[in-house]
Symmetry: C2
Subunit: 106 residues, 2 copies
DNA sequence: TCAAAATATCATGATATCATGATATGTCAA
DNA sequence: TTGACATATCATGATATCATGATATTTTGA
């Protein structure tokens, strides 16, 4: 039995809650939401494709992806000169959906 | 027909996306997540009750609530000396659930 | 080995967020 | 009208995030 249920009222323990908030913070950014949308809809993609689709500056995009990778939201795989990114944590997509309309039960 | 579908790939228009990201940013904070959890589980409550349950300093709690109110996540109603808060946007709860475990379809 | 393509990292200044303690406001009862 | 209770607001310094432009790294083909 988790003894922290009383203190946290059914929510995860403080340390975990901190991690969750951190991931959520990464999603709380317009461009990063668009990146998640792009990766969901088009599947995995190399950076230059995302860059073209979303019209983001290369350095900025790379940093966004890096942050999301560190948090485990996306996953990277090198293929030759390219690096392909994909969604690694479904919760990213779920949050996007329930916050952008479809996905809410009302 | 929304002509921004092409540019935004099914996501809301930039201005709206900005607002959504802003709301998400408010949820991306451990104490505010706990506040949402408290209001969900216990229903509406006066500030002093939330303060006691979550052991948050009065000023800080008041500011958290104020920010969330401005964003439309919660709603306030004065009853005598007290001000009762309640969830105003179900998406807050949905995000909490899908990010904290229960609520995701896997 | 060199050049170019694709991506990553760094440095920096601007802005936003945070926690804290102090003070102000509003409401009710005496 | 005064006092106390409940809540809100303010001021401030510390820290985090952001966008930008410059530079570095990795990989492949010539």
């Amino acid at each position: 039995m988790k003894t922290n249920s009383a203190q946290c009222g059914g929510l995860p323990a403080p340390a975990e809650l901190e991690r969750i908030a951190q991931s959520l913070k990464l999603l709380a950014h317009p461009q990063r939401l668009r990146i998640v949308g792009r990766l969901e809809r088009g599947g995995a993609a190399p950076v230059y494709a995302i860059m073209a689709d979303l019209a983001l500056p290369q350095g900025a995009l790379s940093q966004h992806l890096n942050h999301m990778k560190r948090a485990g939201l996306v996953q990277a795989e090198r293929r030759g000169k390219e690096v392909w990114y994909r969604i690694a944590d479904r919760r990213a997509v779920q949050v996007l959906h329930c916050v952008c309309g479809r996905g809410g039960k009302k």
